[in-house]
Structure formats: C-alpha cells, structure tokens
C-alpha cells in the first residue's frame, strides 16, 4: 500500500503530471500577466501547451559537429532531476519523500538542470552556444552567493528553536517551525532574506532582466540555438518547471505554515501562492526592466541581495 502511494506520488501529484501541467500553466499565466501589463491581449493561458506539442511535431536536426549523445541526453537529464526536486519540496506539512533530502541537497539538485542546459549547449558545438554557456555560468556564480547566505540564515533561525541551537537543513523542520509561529517572512530578521530570495528567483529561472544566457536577439537563444523538435520542447518544459519548483520552494521556505491538512486544498493553496510569487518576482521585473549585461548581473547580485542576506544572517545571530 505504501509503495502504491509512493508510485502515485511519483507519477501524479508532486511528480510527473503535476510538474508538466503546473509548470506550463504557470508559464502561461506569467506570459498572460506580462501581456496584460503591456496593455495587449496576450496569448491564452494554455499557450505553452500548444508550444510544447507543436515542437514535438517538428523535425529534430542534430548538427554535424555536435556530440550526439550528450546533445540529446542533456534535456532529459535536466527534466528528470527537476521532477525529482519537486518531489522533495514539502507542501504545507505534506511531503512524500521529505526524509530523503533536505535544503542543501535540494539546492544542489537544482544545479543539475542548469548544468544540463550548459552541457547540452556546449555539446551542440555552436559558437553562440559557447558564449551562452559562459554567460549562464557567470549567472550561476552570481546568484549562488545571496541564495546560499539567505538559506544559511533560515537554517540558523529555525535551528535555534527546533534543533537545540544547531542549525537545521531539514525542510520539514522549517515547515514545522512556521506552523508553530507563523510564516517566516513575518519575522523581522527574515525580511531581508525574503527580499534577497525574491530577487534570486528571476536569475535562477532565467527570466527577462537576467536572461543573458538565452538572449534571443544578441546570441540567438544561447545554448538552445541548435535545438529543434522534441529536445527543444523538453528544454522549454524545463524552463517552465524550474519556475514552478523555485516558486514552490520559496513558498515552502517563507510563506508556508500548518496548512489545512487536506492534500488537495493544500496543493491548490501552494499553487496560488506560487502564482503570486511568480507575479511579484518574475512578471513585474519582466515588464519594467531591460536585459542586463553579464558583469552588471554579477555586480548586482554580489552587492544588493548579498548585503540583504548578510543583514538577515547577522540579525539571526543576534537572536531576533
């Protein structure tokens, strides 16, 4: 019975189906909100589904000097690791596999899709992809610092109460802490980390102000330049699921609590909160800013969000 429930979790709720549908719907909502902000009608919410199935129908061309196996395996590896990450993220006290991984593991699993995109791009052998990779890697370095500091702050904050002083990296303990004394962003010391993490999401997902790796105009979609057909469909799906996973991780870290206990209601609540977070972190930035250069991104992330995260770390050490 337990195994059957586990298989059900893997294939349906937090696993394959939910990621596919939830990710694409979230991407559709993001595109629709962006269009509305630019006073235009914008595509329907299920437009990403059309894009996905159209790309499935297209012919897949493998360029001659591409390393064929790596070129074709990269998107699948990225997709599967993204779905495994979404299995580990607890949803208001419900977490199918929470005993198998915690914060550091989730953060490191989230680097696999980025590395898969990089290996796929470099395996395609195109100079545009080469430039795209170098930008993507600098983007990873730039957002890693503030993200890590804010996570350490959360770990220390939750650890002080629940784990008798030693920090804790376990996500279920973080959720339990928020169940006892309210979502984390209401705590004074956590507000800077909240803002820092909110700023990290667009760069991690690669949305407009920081999509320097996949800049359509300058380097023709960077690492994705040589992809067409099914692998490109999977990479676009990865992009959407990454948005879903990052925002639901953000919701779990800052906005979760005891929840209603019924799985379905919790799931919907989590999804709605993810939409709100997507709106505030990705869509607004996409609507009002232009694309930054690579070293401006690095300078931006290593100054403002890092300072905010350090501030919250210090506040936590002062026991606020």
């Amino acid at each position: 019975m337990e195994l059957l429930k586990r298989i059900l979790y893997i294939l349906f709720y937090p696993g394959l189906l939910y990621c596919f549908v939830g990710g694409l719907v979230l991407a559709g909502i993001d595109r629709k909100l962006l269009a509305r902000m630019q006073k235009r009608v914008g595509p329907p919410i299920w437009q990403p589904f059309y894009d996905f199935f159209k790309l499935l129908g297209k012919e897949t061309i493998v360029p001659r000097n591409a390393a064929k196996r790596a070129f074709l395996a990269a998107p699948v590896i990225g997709l599967i690791s993204l779905i495994t990450v979404s299995l580990f993220i607890p949803v208001f006290k419900f977490s199918p596999f929470s005993t198998y991984a915690d914060l550091i593991v989730v953060i490191y699993l989230l680097t696999i899709p980025a590395v898969a995109l990089i290996v796929g791009g470099s395996a395609s052998g195109s100079p545009y992809a080469g430039v795209g990779i170098s930008r993507e890697m600098v983007a990873i370095i730039s957002y890693e610092l503030p993200m890590v500091i804010s996570l350490l702050a959360i770990a220390k904050k939750v650890g002080l109460e629940l784990n008798n002083g030693i920090m804790t990296f376990s996500l279920s303990q973080i959720v339990e802490y928020q169940a006892q004394n309210g979502p984390l962003f209401t705590k004074l010391s956590m507000i800077p980390a909240f803002i820092a993490m909110l700023l990290v999401i667009p760069c991690k997902v690669g949305s407009l102000p920081f999509d320097i790796a996949e800049a359509e105009i300058e380097i023709c979609e960077g690492p994705l330049v040589e992809y067409s057909g099914a692998p490109l469909a999977i990479f676009k799906l990865n992009h959407a699921i990454k948005m879903l996973v990052m925002t639901s991780l953000f919701v779990t870290l800052f906005l979760s609590g005891s929840g209603t206990g019924i799985l379905a209601v919790d799931a919907i609540l989590q999804f709605i909160l993810s939409i709100v977070v997507v709106f505030f972190s990705i869509t607004i930035l996409k609507a009002i800013t232009a694309r930054l250069r690579v070293e401006q991104t690095l300078r931006f992330y290593w100054t403002y969000p890092t300072a905010l995260a350090l501030l919250s770390l210090i506040l936590v050490y002062f026991g606020l």
Partner: protein, 631 residues
Amino acid sequence: MTQHLPILAIITLFIGAFIVALIKEKNEVLRNTVVLIATFMSFIFTLMMYKPIIGEGNIITYWMGNWEPVQNWAIGIGLEVDQLSLFFGLFISLSIVLSALYSFKYIEKETGKDKYYVLFLMMSASVMGFIFTGDLFNMYVMIEIMTFASVALTAFRNNKPEAVEAGFKYIAIGSIGSSLILLATVIIYAQFHTLNLAQIAGELHNNYTITTLFALALMVVGYAVKVFAVPTHFVAPDAYMTAPSSISMLFSGIVNKAAVYGILRVLYVVYQSMNLPSVQFMLIFWGTVTMFIGVTMALAQHDFKRLLAFHSISQIGYVITGIGLATALGITGGLYHALNHTLFKGLLFLCAGAVYYATGTTDLDKLGGLAKRMPQTALIFIIGAFSISGIPPFNGFVSKWIIYQASYEAGYAPVTIIALIVSVMTLASFIKVAQSAFFGQLPKEFKNVEEVPLSMRVPMWIMAILCIVGGIFPSSFTKYLITPAANAVMNSAKYVEVMMGPEFASKFYNNLGNAPVIDYKLAGYWQPIAWLILFGILLLAFTLVALLGGFNPKHFSYSDEEDAKYDVFYSGESAEFSHVGGSDLFWGLKYQFRHYFDLMHKIHNGVVNDYALSVVLTAAVVLLYVFTFVR
C-alpha cells in the same frame, strides 16, 4: 604474519625499484611486469592489513630489527599502522597501482623509460613508508626521498625547457620545506632524546615548552610546503603541468595526501593540539584562503593541467578546513574529501594525460570538439568534473556537504559561504574545460585523433566507477573506512599505549581508550540510493510516455556529408571554424574582478626567489602566531 605486513608493503616497492634499475632497457615486458607485481603486491599487503586493524580495531606495531623499547625508552625505528594510516595507505596504494597500469602505454613514446619506473617506484615506496612509519626521523627520510623522486619526475621530459625549470623550482622550494622539517625533528630529538612518535606524544602531553612550540611551528610550515598550502603553492602549477600526467596524478593523489597525513599526525597525535582553538583557527583560516585563491587562479588558466594543479591546491584547502574544524563531523568530512580528491583528481589528470597522448597538447585554446573523436575519455571527464564540483549523485558532493554542515555547526558561517562559492567556481572552471577541450568544434589538425588504448582507459574507468560508488554509498564508505580513521585521530592515547607497552601511556593520560563518540547524522537526510531509485522510476515513466507518443530516436535527422542543413547556425555565414573556448569564457567574471586577477597575476610571477621569500614569510608568520596564541 600480520606483524610483518607494514614493512612488506613498503619493501616490495623498494625491491621493485632495485630490480627495475637492474633490468634497464633490456627487456620492456619484463620490466613492466616487475613494476606491476611490485605495486600490486604492496596493494595486496595493505589490503590484508584491513581485517586486523579496522576489522578488529587493534594497531600493528613493528620494530625494525626488533629493537624493542627498553625501560620505556624507544631506541629502534618503529612502524605503527593504526586506522588512520591504514585509511591513507589503502587509497594511496590503489592509486599507485592504477598510475603504474596507466603509465605503461602513456610513457611508451618517451625516452629513458627505465629511469621513469625507478623513480616512480621510489616515490611510491617513500610515500607508503611515510604513512606507515611511527618514527619522526624516518618520516623526514621518507619525505626527503619523496621530494627528490618527484623533482626528478617533474623534469622527466628534459627536452622541454619548462619541465627543467619547474624541476629546479620544485627542488628549491621543496628543500626549504624539508630543511624546516629536519630542523623541527632535530629540536624535538634534542628535547626528548627519542625519535619515536608515541614516546614524544607521551612526554608532550600538555606540557608545551617554547622549544616544542618552535618545533611545532616549523613542522607545520614544512608540511604546508609539501602540501602546497597557499603562500607556498607557487611551485605546484609548474610542477604538475610539466610532469607526465601519471606522475601529476600521483602528486595530487598521494604526495600532498601524505603531507596532509603528516600535519594530522604531528598536530593531532604527537602534540594533541587539535582541541586548542588557536590551532583550529589557524588551520581553518589557512584552508579557506588556500581554497579561495586556488580556485580563482584556476578560473584564469588556459592550460588543462595547470588548471587541474590549481584545483588540487583549492581542494586541499577543503581538506585542511575540514580537519581544522576538529569536530567529529569536520574530521570525517576532511578525511572523506581527501579520499574523494585522490579519486576524482587522479581521474581528471588521467583524462588530461589521455588528451595529451592523443593530441600532443593540453592548451585549452588549441583544443576543441574531442568528444566526437574520444567519446569514452569525454564521458570519464564528465564524471570526474561532476564529482569534483559536487553534483549530487557523485562522491564530491557528499564530502563537501559534510564539510559545509560541519563548518556551519562549528559556528564558522563565513567559511561555509566561501566553501559553497568556491564549489560553484570549481564547477565553472570545469565547464570551461569541457567546452574548450571536449565539446565545441574539432580543429582540423585533430581530425583523425584516436581514442587512447585500452590499458590507459582501464584505470580511468576503475576510478570513475569508484567516484560514482563513493557518491551512492556514502554511509558504507564512512562506516568501514572513515569513522575508524576519525576515531583514531580523536583518540591518540591508544596510539601511544600500544606502541610503548601497557602502562606507559597511563602515566600521562587519565582517560585511556575512550574516544569521544562521533555523533554525526551524516546521511540523515541524504540517501542517494533512494534518490537514484526515484530518478530511475521517473526516467522509466518518461521513456514510456515518449515511446507511447510515437517518438523514436531514429527520426532524428543526422548526416555526415557536407550539407548546409546540418551545419551549425552561423546566422547565415558558411560554417568556418570558430570555436569558443579557453580564455574567451567567463568574460563577465574576469572583468568584474579584474583588479583581483591583476594582483594575482603580479604575485604569480614565476621568479624562484619570490617563491622562496613567500615560504620564509609564511614560516615567520606561523612562528609569530604559534608563539603568541598557542598555549
């Protein structure tokens, strides 16, 4: 029989060296077999020691010429192998066997092959000797043989001027380090009139005088020179770059591990100074600085082996930080990372050797697109690169993760932050190598490059599999290998007890034999097997859905003849050769930190006297620090 295993493990290698020197050029196959037998025998003997030492938990001692200590006074040279030295001995002898197997084919094109094997066996014998010895002066002798053998091996390709130059630099700096160690040994001998580690540890038990502290400082700096910790690291890139890859694998695999063992043995067992916060802080600070400077310099390199050399320095920084934490989790993390580093760094150096063997150059600006011609080496490189940068299913992730957790639990938050950023930069530099050497476009001159012969690929595959296994079964690795070693480090009283006879240690130590229990929840949260099962199920589900959807890979249109459709998209231009790689990657990072990189460029100026000056300055600073803070 178990009594004689340690000396047998060392002597087989020395005898092998002697026989190979006799064979000279006459018979190649015979020489190779002798080398293989010697290294394999030493590995077997080390393996045979596993059961008595880690299985039953006792310590093997062996007195040369069985000069037993008389009235608690050790006269003869004693070998002592406890769990810690066996732990180091195991993976060192394994990498010696693999490197020997690799170099049969790799050295074929070079001249003076028998000299190579003599030096190879001398170096490995001296490292094994250094690990198993329990005598201070014997440690110095082994360090000396190791230094001279590695200097000669660095300059093995004497037709290349930079090899000879690197050899000269290495001997200059190496001998400063050795003389510091010799000076410290002499001072300790003058103080305690004995050279046996256990007896010194007994007398040194919390009665530090100024002279012993002086000896401590010199010893630490001497081993730091051997381990290439930052201020003394300038020689390492030149030495690793010009030495043959099978040897630079040994440099980064066993030579600096032996030096790490030296630091552990001296600071922990002999001086029992690990739980002094000042010593801990010194090691942690030194490790973090080494970590950061090593990786930032590696990002700026555009030679494959030089980049790997700087990475060895930065990974050793991890090991030193792990050990410096002196908590149970910290030492476990440090030791586990030492093991993992030998595995994945050895693997990467062998890949560099394979690239050199196939193309004749390791300059990243000239290489490109080798994955199409050398698929297995590319795959092995990817495994190595992912495990060094700590991507989850591989072994680098587990040990780095333990170090993060340990350093954060010990209250060093900045160290954890720097460690995580260094790990991301390691990933960046290996993405740079992957893009410039293995992926991207194949230059014309490497059109018909062939995959390396099987005898070179076998050791690479063995190490790659070990990297994966190390990442998937971390709990079994720690239970059978690392926890006993960490226990041995934390509880040095037993080391003294066994060596010097029953009641000798009880005079000095009040709690005998009970090591602080190591309560670490290593894999409390992270069971890689469960994660991999999830990954497998999802992969299965995905392929099922894909096949159901009428998707089959044969539809991929791929062709090899000249057809514009399959050319890479150049916005219309004809697809001429334009490979993005080497130094034109990570412009953003280099531009943003250009002042830092210019400063580093000025410091690493290649002048030997500056290097020697930096070693002496480190010695002065450490001396000052030890005198003022260590009590």
